[in-house]
């Protein structure tokens, strides 16, 4: 899967490495900005209040 992606990228090795870094950075940015805040709502967080 990732091997196929690597071969699909154009150019010499250093260009491909650069492209991979850009792709990974874009994915991480998207996760941090949009995906993780939504996931956080689904993850249980300890209650901080007292109640009967």
């Amino acid at each position: 899967m990732y091997g196929a992606l690597w071969r699909a990228l154009p150019g010499p090795v250093w260009v491909r490495l650069l492209l991979v870094l850009v792709l990974v950075a874009a994915v991480v940015f998207a996760l941090f900005t949009w995906v993780f805040p939504l996931v956080q709502e689904l993850v249980p967080v300890p209650d901080v209040t007292v109640e009967e």
Partner: protein, 257 residues
């Protein structure tokens, strides 16, 4: 000795083998990806996002604090509630659900630590989105009784993360439109989640008439767990009107750190 043709065909075979995409191969790569994503999420939730949200909450609280001071300079918009006892501080104005009305400053928590206080203790509307939440059934800052608030100890900017680091006598300052209410930290306590009597005007006493002005902070304990609650109590010390210079209690005493 292999001929050129044989060598070429051997290389072709290897390439072909490497390029074949198998179900197991894809499944393995997806599993590794899923593992990496979970670690990335934990990194984001427990470290990265807290730093970002903490900074946002600090600056939001700072601008709210400044807006109180500016509003007072332009003239009092709301008449402070006159206390019956002239020596008593005016009673701070609290607000309804998810409405911001105050700023919490605890110098022990760091130089730039400030958090907004809003009414209500719902996670969705106050604790996750604003910071500190006021138990609406409890008293107001400066009022005889108990001003009780809650806040996250982990995640969502973790405003009460360092609650267990408080030392006796540490300042807990609540600023409202009226001014600064300085409380002094007195004691920590660990209780069960159902111990709602820590919110009483006299904590843990029923039907006793309050004479002291207290602040109560509640958060989760142990960290990352909902098994118990950590409770910090403070006792009212002094009131500084909003038109006066900010009190010295907003900074840690020199040599204390």
């Amino acid at each position: 000795m292999a001929t050129t043709g044989e060598r070429r065909s051997a290389r072709r075979d290897r390439t072909k083998k490497r390029r074949r995409i198998t179900f197991l191969g894809v499944f393995g790569e997806l599993s590794i990806t899923a593992g990496a994503l979970i670690f990335l999420f934990l990194f984001w939730q427990l470290w990265f996002n807290d730093i970002v949200v903490r900074a946002e909450q600090n600056s939001a609280a700072e601008s709210l604090s400044e807006s109180f001071i500016e509003a007072a300079q332009e003239g009092p918009a709301t008449e402070p509630t006159e206390p019956a006892d002239p020596a008593a501080p005016p009673i701070g104005q609290t607000a309804g659900d998810a409405e911001r009305f105050g700023v919490l400053t605890i110098p022990r928590f760091g130089d730039d630590y400030q958090a907004e206080i809003a009414g209500g203790i719902t996670r969705a509307r106050t604790l996750n989105t604003i910071g500190i939440g006021h138990y609406l059934t409890t008293q107001a800052p400066g009022e005889v009784g108990n001003f009780a608030v809650a806040g996250h100890r982990t995640t969502y900017g973790k405003p009460l993360n360092q609650i267990a680091n408080l030392r006796v006598g540490d300042a807990i300052v609540v600023q409202t439109a009226e001014g600064w209410y300085t409380y002094r930290f007195r004691t920590l306590e660990y209780v069960t989640p159902s111990a709602a009597d820590v919110l009483n005007p006299v904590p843990q006493a029923d039907g006793v008439e309050a004479t002291d002005r207290l602040i109560t902070l509640t958060s989760c304990s142990p960290m990352y767990s909902a098994a118990e609650r950590i409770i910090a109590y403070g006792v009212f010390e002094s009131f500084t009107p909003i038109t006066d210079p900010a009190p010295a209690s907003l900074e840690l005493p020199e040599g204390d750190g």
